[in-house]
């Protein structure tokens, strides 16, 4: 019998536990998470949850009885502090002093919001958004807030900005780079989002240089830009990316890069007794090649966790998946399939100003990714094509008269 300890009870940690049981694994499984909730969906926290369309119970990934029925020991509100792998069996100690003995270890420690290193970040009303506690805090302040400043024009920030604008608030997005979502999408998609948010009444300030956050007493009142202009704010939401939580991995001497736990295509860390999955890892590109990537998405958490569970069950099957992602910003539905990193050509299909279009990404003439905005058919066609190793000729892709799925070739 093998006992598995899974540290981190997010989407990846839960999926490792579930998939182990699906695979017929009959050892003990303990899943330990530091939040006071069982595993839950994070994506709605910046969307439906904020507007009351989802309550905490509806966010649960599994019902409490599911863990009991499947003999998964689910422990909330407890944090693993130290892990020792020097003995024949591993030993973890939690913040309550409890000791957990195990044979195999799974790290699904996730990520944490990058903190803004400027004056004023400790003022009341400067918020980050990662977990339920953050979302509840934001929601409690939501109604009374007339003005919201979002620092960081990435997915989280833009989702919150869209919701705030729909609720009639004065909204300003401050982005340090010269375009929005610069790390994930092409300049064409970035420009579309800038214009679309502006059309809805949000002020988008690119190349923004923030000097400090200002307040009245302990309460935030605005964000001061270089030059002295103050953008008023009842709430300042900071969404400037996340940092992998590799503290335990580093403690164990596992290979990490900037905190991200390096794994191979079987989700094994540099110590084969330890597997890792989800936001916290740096993994080989899931469609092959030399590149190592970090993927902060539900899809990756789920699919990589399944690979990790197979490895733990003694089945060696490399991780292969088409990465995909979505971001709902008000009535704008962005869907991304594939990874566009390293593209050398883009084809725009449709007219961005119509708020329904796609950008297809190519490298050396082959399709590698798509961003679709309110263009679900395009997205589905490309997701399927990438999954079967197919492509769509770049010179034909722009023609809206022809559905993309009819253009798929080997």
């Amino acid at each position: 019998m093998t006992d598995v300890l899974i540290v981190g009870a997010g989407q990846a940690g839960m999926q490792i536990a579930v998939s182990l049981r699906d695979n017929g694994f009959d050892g003990r499984i303990e899943l330990v998470g530091e939040e006071p909730h069982g595993p839950y969906q994070r994506p709605p926290l910046s969307k439906a949850f904020l507007h009351g369309a989802a309550d905490i119970e509806s966010l649960e990934l599994r019902s409490p009885s599911f863990y009991v029925d499947n003999k998964i020991v689910m422990v909330s509100d407890e944090k693993v502090i130290t892990i020792d792998l020097s003995g024949e069996r591993g030993l973890a100690v939690t913040d309550t002093g409890r000791e957990i003995h195990f044979d195999r270890l799974a790290l699904a420690t996730g990520s944490t919001p990058r903190r803004l290193p400027i004056e004023g970040v400790d003022l009341d009303g400067v918020l980050y958004l990662r977990g339920i506690a953050d979302a509840v805090d934001l929601k409690n302040r939501w109604e009374a807030a007339a003005s919201v400043v979002v620092i960081g024009g990435g997915f989280i920030g833009l989702e919150v900005a869209a919701g705030a604008r729909m609720d009639g608030k004065q909204v300003t997005v401050l982005e340090a780079a010269d375009r929005l979502i610069a790390r994930a999408v092409s300049p064409e998609t970035s420009e579309f989002y800038r214009a679309a948010h502006e059309r809805r009444g949000t002020s988008v300030r690119l190349d923004a240089k923030i000097s400090r956050i200002v307040g009245d007493g302990s309460k935030v009142t605005g964000v001061e830009l270089e030059g002295g202009e103050v953008v008023p704010a009842d709430i300042v939401m900071v969404g400037i990316g996340v940092i992998a939580r590799g503290e335990l991995a580093e403690q164990l001497g596992l290979e990490t890069v900037n905190g991200a736990i390096v794994v191979n295509e079987f989700a094994e860390t540099s110590n084969p007794r330890v597997i890792a999955a989800g936001d916290a890892v740096l993994l080989p590109h899931p469609l092959g090649g030399e590149a190592q990537v970090r993927l902060e998405s539900v899809q990756n958490a789920v699919d990589q966790a399944k690979t990790a569970a197979k490895t733990l069950s003694g089945v060696r099957e490399p991780y292969r998946a088409v990465p995909w992602f979505w971001s709902d910003q008000g009535d704008l539905k962005l869907q991304i399939a594939g990874l566009s990193t390293g593209y050398d050509q883009t084809v725009v299909r449709g007219t961005p100003d119509d708020e329904s279009f796609s950008v297809l990404y190519y490298r050396a003439g082959r399709l590698i990714a798509i961003d679709s905005v309110n263009a679900v058919s395009d997205y589905m066609a490309v997701r399927k094509a990438l999954g079967s190793g197919s492509t769509i000729p770049a010179e034909l892709a722009h023609n809206l008269e022809t559905p993309l799925k009819t253009l798929v070739v080997e």
Binding site: Q41, S63, V376
Partner: protein, 107 residues
């Protein structure tokens, strides 16, 4: 509570009590019904909760919306006349006894 029955591609059936207002997808996932993946958690973004609605309930359940319709066109299993994404079907008293067959391929 309205009941919903899931039939696996291999014929295995599971019947569950649904919370009023929960979707057919949520009810399945929270109770660990295999074959309903639902990676996007109900945002109509992934098409991995594809079911075929039993003919007797097809009219009550109704047709997919435009967005769902496009998603179904690209679903991993070919769509059938009563195909729906189960995240978009909310359970209520009218759907008590609903039967859905789970599409064989989801991703």
């Amino acid at each position: 509570m309205p009941k919903v029955t899931y039939i696996q591609p291999d014929g295995v059936e599971t019947t569950l009590d649904a919370r009023d207002g929960d979707s057919v997808m949520e009810t399945a996932v929270k109770n660990g019904v295999r074959g309903i993946v639902a990676e996007c958690g109900g945002a109509c973004a992934c098409a991995t909760c594809h079911v075929f609605v039993d003919d007797a309930f097809a009219a009550t359940v109704g047709e997919p919306g435009d967005l769902e319709d496009d998603m179904l066109d690209g679903a991993a299993s070919d769509r059938q006349p009563t195909s729906r994404l189960s995240c978009q079907i909310k359970m209520n008293a009218d759907l008590d006894g609903l039967v859905v067959r789970i599409a064989p391929e989801q991703v």
